[in-house]
Symmetry: C2
């Protein structure tokens, strides 16, 4: 049985093995990913983001339990782009999700940056495909923080949940603003805390002021993930959003944009690899860099020089 | 007088005009950036990052005042990648830096994402070049947060300051780990707060455990930016780090890596533009995307198809 066949059969060890290859030697994973690709596209991908300490992992655990009750299988990818070390927070969260780990209908994987800060978004996209091909109905992609890399990761999702909590201070207001763009659903967690009502009211006000997409106004749910309060409503909210996307051919459109971005990234990387191979011969690239460093050439002129040797006339087409 | 000539003469309005072009219509800025390029490379670029609320802007204000006392000119770029809206926090900080704004030896500019989350790092690199060509001795690049985009921005710096504060809770520990990689200098601000000593001790312990670069061990400074306490030592620390870089030809090596990355980014973008131009004709790209969406082709096969029409045999060289 090949690795791809094992994954299609839902074998947990095969899944783990291919993910490890994707993380460490991505080129070697390509044949298996190609073999799996025709079997992808069935899973619903739910992105979850929000500031550290907002209880995302506990929330994901609760949502997963609810979906399991409804007979669905679930994959969970916990991504920590901020830490190139083994993420302490994520480890703690995994212990909290311990009872899920023994459920064969659930697959949980943590992903850190392992030294290289780039490539995490790409690896995450590939892990989603693996879990999708393995037959998971829902895939949660949980990210720590709200920076650019989180946004890139979240772009992979069909539905994005943004989790906020009361009492994180005024600086959170700034973060919130950036997040309006990507939220399909808001969850105010730790809603038993003081000021939870104010956070909900502020969000609703921001949504009133934002006129961007009138067809879908992100709903705001209040939860207490530790006790499970409000979880069923969030699961219904996710299903409503997916339903909305399907009705308007928006799911297809969103996914097509993802394919476009993914293909273009493979192209970019492939072309850069070829260029570097070509320009490394005889130290040509180093000579060019030295000229730029000495201000004999500017970076644009150098870039055009590289492009020209590659494309002949500097225009597309062969 | 051309825009580039105005900038070389240090004209504040010319600087502001070109920055606006860089932000809104980057292609149009290229000729001016090319004209300025031979006059760049003199400024020392200092990156400042750290969690929201750590007092980065106040610190930058104080460092700037000290450098002005020492007869240096300063550019300040405040970058907020998290907020596509006008950043509330940055606006507040600018008011705090108000007395600097009237000093002709200081140029301050805030940069947000303006809807498009990509391209901010590139725009920041170009603004650094503009201020460099305009004759600023020091350029501070201040970013909110500690995600991937901040790291990308900070990579532009010759020296990177990471600012931490006591009392931001345990989650900060996770963030700290990711930051060890990029810090040349640590500043524990708000050092008059309880627990400041503990943060310093924790940092020193982390540095002891990290064996990465033995030649330069990042110093840890304690400051109270609001009162100016500890600022002179940080300025000296920055100068020591620059001195260390120069002594070991490391400044040159760091900058050369930046040129390499910048040139490769221009190449990638240029080639993708050409590819899209070529593939958009007759809806060829949409047809290919539809095939990928229908699982008739996988993304790798589609990418290779695109590369092949462009490079002929799929290999570098013309």
């Amino acid at each position: 049985m090949t690795l791809a066949e094992g994954i299609l059969a839902g074998d947990q060890r095969a899944i783990a093995r291919l993910i490890t290859i994707v993380e460490n030697r991505p080129r070697e994973a390509i044949p298996a990913l190609q073999a799996l690709y025709p079997h992808t596209g069935k899973a619903l991908v739910v992105g979850i983001t929000g500031p550290p300490g907002s209880g995302k992992s506990t929330l994901v655990g609760r949502l997963t339990k609810r979906l399991r009750q409804l007979g669905k299988t679930v994959g969970i990818i916990a991504v920590d782009p901020t830490s190139p070390f083994t993420g302490g927070a994520i480890l703690g969260d995994r212990i909290r999700m311990q009872d899920l780990a023994t459920d064969p209908g659930v697959y949980i994987r943590s992903m850190g940056t392992r030294g290289s800060l780039g490539g995490l978004a790409k690896a995450t996209h590939n892990v989603i495909k693996i879990l999708d091909a393995a037959g998971k109905d829902y895939i949660f992609v949980e990210t720590v923080g709200v920076g650019q890399s989180e946004v890139d990761i979240v772009k992979t999702a069909d539905t994005t949940l943004v989790v906020l909590v009361p009492g994180l201070g005024d600086d959170i207001q700034t973060i919130k603003a950036g997040i309006l763009e990507i939220a399909d659903i808001f969850v105010v967690n730790k809603a038993d805390r003081q000021d939870a009502g104010r956070v909900v009211a502020e969000l609703e006000m921001m949504l009133d002021l934002s006129s961007k997409e009138v067809e879908w106004r992100p709903p705001v749910y209040s939860t207490v993930a530790t006790s499970g309060k409000g979880i069923d409503a969030v699961v219904e909210g996710i299903e409503q959003h997916i339903h909305y996307l399907c009705q308007n051919s928006k799911l297809e459109a969103r996914r097509r944009e993802r394919y476009r971005a993914e293909i273009m990234n493979i192209v970019k990387e492939g072309i850069i690899t070829q260029l570097l191979d070509f320009w490394s011969v005889g130290g040509k690239l180093e000579t060019l860099l030295a000229e730029v460093a000495a201000r004999e050439k500017d970076p644009y002129a150098a870039a055009w020089e590289i492009m020209q040797t590659f494309t002949g006339n500097g225009k597309g087409g062969s």
